[in-house]
């Protein structure tokens, strides 16, 4: 595979990550929660689709019809039962409870589905590709995913800017107390945000499952990739998440081009580098940050 090819594949891979990361970015933007179970919820969506495909003999695309509304409900309930209380209890607690949820989901999946690797059939589009030159081809399915990611992000952005629900969401994100004072039910807003987040996660999970294999331990990996995409792109910005996903995807595929085993590692390295660079730039200097200067009283 040529370098150009791997970059293109990386950009397309970025679409997958962007779709996965959308929910994480949304929950952080609105509630300042980093849902450590996000990847696991995406995986859960994939497994639910898998169940439907195996037992109802429908295509994976059709399986989305029940899975997505189901995910909306799961997200809504998750917020009203667990995350709402976690938010009230302090800043550390949502991390601890979502981590606990990650462990629970991952192990339940392992119990019910065995550690075996599975995959969902993407249909005839799966192996399709556009041949540009003899050494350059663009996989159609990956392009589809990128297209869907852009569509979802676009719709979300429109909802946020043009609808009342979106205004309420942005207002609650900025100042939940003031939002309550103008009649916005902040708890319902949070629940809607989580519902959307889990639904996009499930969507991403199903497409991820069609694109490659999955097993019960895939949750944490997907969480890490989603998070890296969000951080690289700048937390709290939806289009930034797309950019971050693409940067991550390209880092990974280019790394894999050097050595197939460097795939994930390349992503981690870029992520950490962006982190350090951003902190240095934002803090205005290392001296201040290292605490070498006492704050004058």
């Amino acid at each position: 595979m040529t370098w150009v090819n791997s970059v293109i594949h990386g950009i397309l891979l970025g679409g997958v990550y962007a779709l996965l990361a959308t929910g994480l970015s949304l929950m952080f933007g609105v509630m300042r929660i980093i849902n450590l179970a996000h990847g696991s919820l995406a995986l859960l969506g994939a497994y639910m689709a898998f169940l439907l495909v195996e037992h109802a003999h429908i295509s994976a695309y059709l399986a989305l019809v029940p899975v997505l509304p189901g995910a909306l409900v799961v997200g809504y309930l998750l917020q009203r039962t667990m995350l709402e209380r976690s938010l009230r209890a302090g800043v550390l607690v949502p991390l601890l409870t979502t981590f606990g949820l990650l462990i629970v989901i991952g192990n339940l999946l392992q119990e019910f589905f065995s550690p075996d690797v599975h995959s969902l059939n993407p249909g005839s589009i799966g192996p399709a590709a556009w041949r540009i030159t003899s050494r350059l081809s663009i996989p159609a399915f990956d392009a589809l995913i990128l297209g869907i990611a852009i569509l979802v992000l676009g719709i979300l952005q429109l909802v946020l800017t043009r609808t009342q629900i979106g205004r309420e969401l942005r207002a609650t994100a900025a100042d939940p107390d003031a939002a309550e004072l103008v009649g916005v039910d902040s708890r319902a807003v949070y629940a809607r945000a989580t519902a959307i987040a889990v639904a996009t996660a499930a969507l991403a999970g199903v497409f991820f499952a069609m694109r490659s294999t999955f097993d019960p331990t895939a949750g944490p990996t997907q969480l890490i990739y989603a998070f890296e995409a969000v951080v690289i792109g700048g937390m709290g910005s939806l289009w930034g998440t797309l950019a971050g996903g693409i940067v991550l995807g390209v880092s990974q595929t280019v790394g894999a081009q050097i050595n197939p085993q460097y795939f994930a590692l390349a992503g981690h390295v870029v992520f950490l580098a962006v982190l350090v660079a951003r902190t240095i730039l934002e803090s205005g200097g290392l001296r201040v940050r290292l605490g070498l200067r006492r704050v004058a009283t």
């Binding site: 800043v91 981590f99 951080v231 981690h268 950490l272 902190t279």
Partner: protein
């Protein structure tokens, strides 16, 4: 009218109470008693107790980060793995005496934690959590890619040879027992001294309100850095002990020496025992140890249960067992705080 003179101060600031003095003495005595373990108890019991001791180490270290520093790390397994692999590397490759290698591994863990701190300590909250996790994953991958036969790459390695050529299995058991008991005791002592020092007070301040603490001159980043290095060394020590106990390790997967399940266990122990208390993590370790020994030591339902209990505690009993007792009865067994005593 004459002004009323201000009454002479009658309150005294104390650190020790009868209860805490007695308890600390009892704890020292207990450690002394436990040291006679190899003479008193069966091999099976010793094997189990070693697990308890390194669980205590892990719980105390994670609590130091999260409870005293407000740093929720999901990546301490990075140092567990570093500690374990350092021992293998030093004893296998360089034929170093294993227990000496374990000591050096602890120092290596502490040393590695410094550049890691430089990268992650700027992060807050969830970003810090995942950042540390990414670091752990990166280390795991690096180790799995290492071509060195002593490291063993993705399939893992074992310290069987360095231990078995020097010691009988009984000797390894006994020495590992003392090493783990000693490590737990020493780390508890270090933390105890640390918390009673000025650093301890400033850590408390950081935990309560970082901004306010910084404005009175508390070096926030330095305080967190000290905790991170301590935790790095401590977790590396635990990793070394785990290696001495189980002998073979692998780098990849949630159950591996670099696996996220270690974080799951640490979070469980500290949440159940009591975040931010001194005694809490010890209690949490005991609870986990009991669950492990008498319920099931592995398997998916076990972890589902752990996760569920952790969530339950976080939501319903966020102060943990000891934290709740401490709050209810205002008791403190180990004197890390101050008490005001005076005539009312």
């Amino acid at each position: 009218m004459t002004a009323v003179a201000a009454p002479a101060p009658t309150a005294r600031v104390e650190r020790w109470t009868w209860l805490s003095g007695g308890f600390t003495a009892a704890l020292a005595g207990l450690i002394g008693l436990l040291a006679f373990g190899p003479v008193l108890w069966s091999q099976n019991a010793l094997n189990n107790l070693i697990q308890l001791y390194f669980l205590v180490v892990l719980a105390v270290m994670w609590n130091a980060l999260a409870g005293y520093g407000g740093l929720v790390s999901v990546g301490q397994q990075a140092f567990i793995g570093i500690g374990a692999y350092a021992v293998v590397f030093l004893s296998l490759q360089h034929s170093l005496e294993p227990y000496l290698a374990m000591l050096i591994a602890t120092l290596i863990g502490a040393a590695v934690s410094i550049p890691v701190a430089a990268v992650v300590l700027w992060l807050r909250g969830g970003a810090f959590a995942i950042g540390t996790w990414v670091v752990a994953e990166a280390f795991a991958i690096l180790v799995s890619l290492d071509p060195n036969p002593a490291i063993g790459g993705g399939t893992g390695t074992s310290a069987l040879i360095p231990f078995n050529t020097r010691y009988t299995p009984t000797q390894r058991l006994n020495y590992t027992y003392w090493a783990s008991l000693g490590t737990a005791a020493v780390l508890l002592a270090i933390l105890f001294v640390l918390l009673r020092s000025r650093l301890g007070a400033s850590l408390q301040a950081i935990r309560d309100d970082e901004g306010a603490a910084a404005s009175v001159g508390v070096r926030v980043l330095l305080g967190k850095g000290v905790l991170f290095v301590l935790a790095g060394g401590g977790c590396a020590a635990a990793g070394a002990l785990i290696l001495a106990w189980q002998l073979s390790i692998q780098p990849l997967g949630p159950d591996s020496i670099f696996g996220v399940n270690w974080s799951a266990k640490m979070i469980f122990m500290v949440l159940v025992g009591g975040l931010g208390t001194f005694e809490g993590p010890i209690i949490g370790a005991i609870v986990l140890y009991l669950l492990q020994t008498y319920v099931s030591s592995s398997g998916v339902w076990y972890f589902v249960m752990l996760g569920g209990i952790a969530i339950g505690f976080a939501l319903l009993l966020p102060r943990g067992i000891w934290g709740t007792i401490q709050e209810r009865f205002n008791v403190q067994l180990l004197p890390v705080g101050y008490r005001l005593r005076g005539r009312s």
